[in-house]
Amino acid sequence: MSALLSIDRLRVELPAAKKGMRTVIHDVSLDVQAGEAVGLVGESGSGKSMTTRAVMRLLPEGARLSGEIRFDGISIPGMDRRALRRWRATRVGMIFQDPRAHINPVRTIGDFLFEGVMLDGRLSTSQARERISHLMRAVGIADVDRRLNQYPHELSGGLLQRVMIAAALTTEPELLLADEPTTALDVTTQEEVIAIIDELRRERGLAMLFITHDLDLAAAVCGRIAVMYAGSIVEEQKADALGLATSHPYTKGLLAARPELGRRERRLQTIEGRPISAFEVGDGCAFATRCPRVRDRCRQERPAPTQVPGGRVACHFIDFIDAAAGSPAVGSGGGTR
């Protein structure tokens, strides 16, 4: 079966401030099947956003990319400008963290939405109008006509993000790229927006790549989760298998470090040190500097992803971790699931 979006051994380097290149993504391979929602989870600097930018060909100037990204079998890095524009306009929708930065502040919501539909070129004006008001209602916007005549600054963040969702769906894409779509929103608004994305995605059978720093949030709307750390995917799992015995120590650490409602601990489990950037990673495992279970081998040799029940984990000592699953150093996050 060929995937709708297939990222194969992606490596991205950006020009550094002074001289030379800095690696921001080491080796990312990830498939998204048609109709499937995949979460890409990581802390700041893990490369999760850079991965989506590579997919959308939105990398900064001077970036060097190797590996392959295919959409429906077509190479995205290989597209010419026309094909790229056409692909972006019709087959993929994108939702960003900060809707305000991605909408022209001096044009009305209506203008913004119409522009997106007309770019597609397949619809008449009345059909476009019909589709837009249908989508506006679908994302929970009640008085469509009034909203269409308003300007972005007149709308709250949550409402504007709904408009962005509607905009992403106007051309009936097959893939939705959502880059931290709710991070800037209040929690109650986040729930609304996430529920809307999830519902519309399921109804339309859309595939989605969902970028977030919140494992629980990703698990709620995605079937599969890939966890990124310092430019590599350290683990890819079914959402409900996250944090189980075979999980990567980083995933377990993340789950344990997050305070959780209904579970007060005297002290939170922490992951020592700070998240490192991709370019700081040496020859060994990216997580070696912070891993509670680190061995000499981890510092010298980059672990390849190993098949485990439910997914892949890039760790040399996956069997060992399996055996030690009950131990307090790694156990807490897994224990509650």
């Binding site: 401030a17 991070t183 800037a184 209040d186």
Partner: protein, 288 residues
């Protein structure tokens, strides 16, 4: 007032820090500025002749080993006059920029700090000064006080205050609203202490950029004033004065004096402009 404001990445375009990394043109501009400054300082040592020494036997001489740039209509060595001219030509704009920078910074920071009506008043006042041509102001000053270096420079500095203050005020308001300033206020530090020790030092790179660019324009303005005969008075050498002086010789086919003096002004103004822009680029690339 969003609950979860995601930490804004420090704006890399904000000019707040040191650590200059110059590109090619900026380096060249920097070298020119340094050379001109050294020439001004050491003019008496390096100038081959007395710049005011008239030599009727050597008028309008072309470039030679004895007179590298030739002589003028009274036989004075042009190179020596340029070197000595650097002193008043470069001192004038320095006075302008110094006054404008000090007054402009005080105005900008107080407006940003106090805010409200005071800020609105200051902004309007700056707009009014901005609309007033500096040259006219300088000419009025000369009419009242008399020609010389100081009177036009002081008058001109008033018209340069808005160039500094307007830019600095915007940056100061930004800084004023950053939490580190609020944290200092909560500690109990007084406004003056916070401004002098924290706010102004953080504006310094921007101030230097503004001052450098303004310096170039002030040099041009003061040269124009001297050209009109309202600035530095002969026989003291000055570039603008030299251009004016050489005018009559042009008809006789001797362009050297005006040409070299004009070129010197041109090079100096361009160098200060390029340097200012280069500094801006260097400062903004270095904010993490």
């Amino acid at each position: 007032m969003s609950v979860l404001q995601v930490a804004p990445k420090p704006d890399s375009r904000e000019i707040t820090s040191w650590g200059a990394r110059f590109d090619g043109p900026t380096t060249v501009a920097c070298v020119i500025v340094v050379v001109f400054t050294l020439a001004a300082v050491f003019a008496p040592v390096i100038a081959p002749y007395d710049p005011t020494q008239v030599d009727p036997s050597a008028v309008y001489q072309g470039p030679s080993v004895a007179h590298l740039l030739g002589t003028d209509n009274t036989g004075r060595d042009i190179l020596s006059r340029l070197l000595h001219g650097a002193r008043s030509s470069l001192l004038g704009p320095a006075i302008v920029v110094l006054i404008a920078a000090v007054v402009g910074t005080v105005i900008a920071v107080s407006a940003a700090w106090i805010g409200g009506r005071f800020d609105a008043f200051v902004s309007r006042a700056l707009d009014v000064i901005f609309a007033f041509p500096g040259l006219i102001l300088a000419i009025v000053a000369v009419a009242v006080i008399g020609p010389g270096l100081l009177a036009p420079a002081a008058a001109l500095s008033i018209s340069y205050i808005p160039y500094i203050a307007r830019v600095l005020r915007t940056a100061a308001i930004r800084q004023r609203n950053l939490p580190y300033i609020a944290a200092l206020e909560v500690q109990g530090f007084g406004a003056v202490a916070i401004c002098v020790r924290h706010l102004v030092p953080n504006l310094l790179p921007l101030l230097i950029v503004q001052a450098t660019v303004s310096y170039g324009y002030a040099l041009l303005d003061l040269s124009a004033i001297s050209f009109l005969g309202l600035g530095t008075q002969p026989p003291t050498p000055e570039w603008g004065l030299m251009v004016a002086n050489g005018q009559s010789s042009i008809i006789a086919g001797h362009v050297e004096q005006s040409l070299y003096a004009g070129l010197t002004i041109l090079v100096a103004v361009v160098a200060f402009n390029v340097l200012g822009q280069g500094l801006a680029k260097a400062f903004m690339g270095d904010d993490r």
